[in-house]
């Protein structure tokens, strides 16, 4: 890995971590954990558009790791990692099938799978299926959040020309 490449990825990880930390300081949108905008997913989408799947995945995992180190919560690390990996795998597959024109749709389905992954971890941790009753609510909130982050990425990409974008 070239130094320049590594520095760029570190920079993108820092951006994602900053967005994540600021978002976590905002009051919750609803009294159910999991209902949030997930703004740091913009960085993952951005790297899928402009870099490679490998770079996007590295950046995501590093962001989750550093965020959990700051928060000091190993439980939230499991939730974030499972949700993040679920979301990423879905988006990576869809990205291969549909391509970059459909980034908004990819973001929506990715967000839904993020919440699905987190609920599945909750089922394992709590050893009870009753937590699945949150699934419809979290699916709808995932669609809303995914639309928002997808549109953010889409319009940011639309505004910038290739020479204005940092490429890892």
């Amino acid at each position: 890995m070239k130094i320049r490449h590594m520095a760029m990825l570190a920079m993108y990880t820092t951006i994602a971590l900053t967005i994540f930390t600021i978002e976590s300081l905002l009051p919750g949108l609803a009294p159910v954990s999991g209902i949030k905008l997930g703004l740091s997913n913009i960085v993952t989408l951005w790297l899928l558009l402009y870099a490679s799947q490998k770079d996007a995945f590295l950046c995501l995992v590093m962001r989750i790791l550093t965020a959990s180190l700051i928060a000091g919560q190993m439980v939230s690390f499991a939730y974030s990692l499972c949700g993040g990996v679920f979301c990423f795998c879905t988006m990576a597959v869809l990205f291969r099938i549909f391509g970059k024109k459909y980034i908004v749709f990819i973001s929506v389905i990715g967000a839904v799978f993020h919440n699905l992954g987190q609920i599945l971890i909750a089922v394992i941790v709590l050893q009870s299926f009753s937590i699945l009753s949150y699934l419809p609510l979290l699916t709808i909130s995932g669609i809303a959040a995914g639309t928002f982050t997808g549109l953010c990425t889409h319009y940011a990409a639309k505004r910038l020309t290739k020479d204005q974008v940092w490429l890892p």
């Binding site: 954990s33 024109k101 459909y102 929506v108 941790v125 009870s128 009753s130 699934l135 990409a157 639309k158």
Partner: protein, 136 residues
């Protein structure tokens, strides 16, 4: 970025497919949500689970005076739970996210209260039998 990404996806088969897929998921979720909302009864019996094991069962229909108690886990973390006639809720916890506390006092059987960091779950059932509850 090339020009093709600059416009929002136009009307083609892939857009239609993805839109229909997302609409399907949305409508399905909304339907399940509404069904759950209308079939949920009043809170009857609360069962408190910790690490998947039942630690306490409370009949919420027969509470003379509201009271609170604390559930402590093996690593020393705690959840203070308040019980009153027909309602249960977490009033205090030393977890970082405070999601359980933010749910307030719960009066319906639609959603369980969960505290993910402490592996605590409060299941709420209505006191009617299962068949009656489903038929309502």
């Amino acid at each position: 970025m090339d020009k093709s990404t600059r416009q929002f996806p136009r009307r083609d088969k892939k857009t239609l497919l993805l839109t229909l897929l997302i609409l399907f998921i949305l409508i399905l979720s909304a339907a399940v949500l509404l069904i759950r909302y209308f079939t949920a009864g009043k809170a009857g019996t609360a069962r408190i689970y910790q690490d998947g094991a039942l630690v306490r069962e409370i009949d919420l229909s027969d509470i003379a005076a509201p009271y609170t108690f604390t559930i402590t886990s093996t690593d020393g973390s705690y959840n203070t739970i308040k019980v009153e006639q027909g309602a249960i809720g977490v009033t205090d916890a030393d977890c970082p996210d405070k999601t359980c506390r933010n749910m307030g006092m719960v009066r319906s059987s639609a959603y369980p209260i969960s505290c993910l960091p402490h592996k605590l779950l409060i299941q709420i059932a209505d006191n009617d039998s299962g068949i009656d509850a489903a038929a309502q």
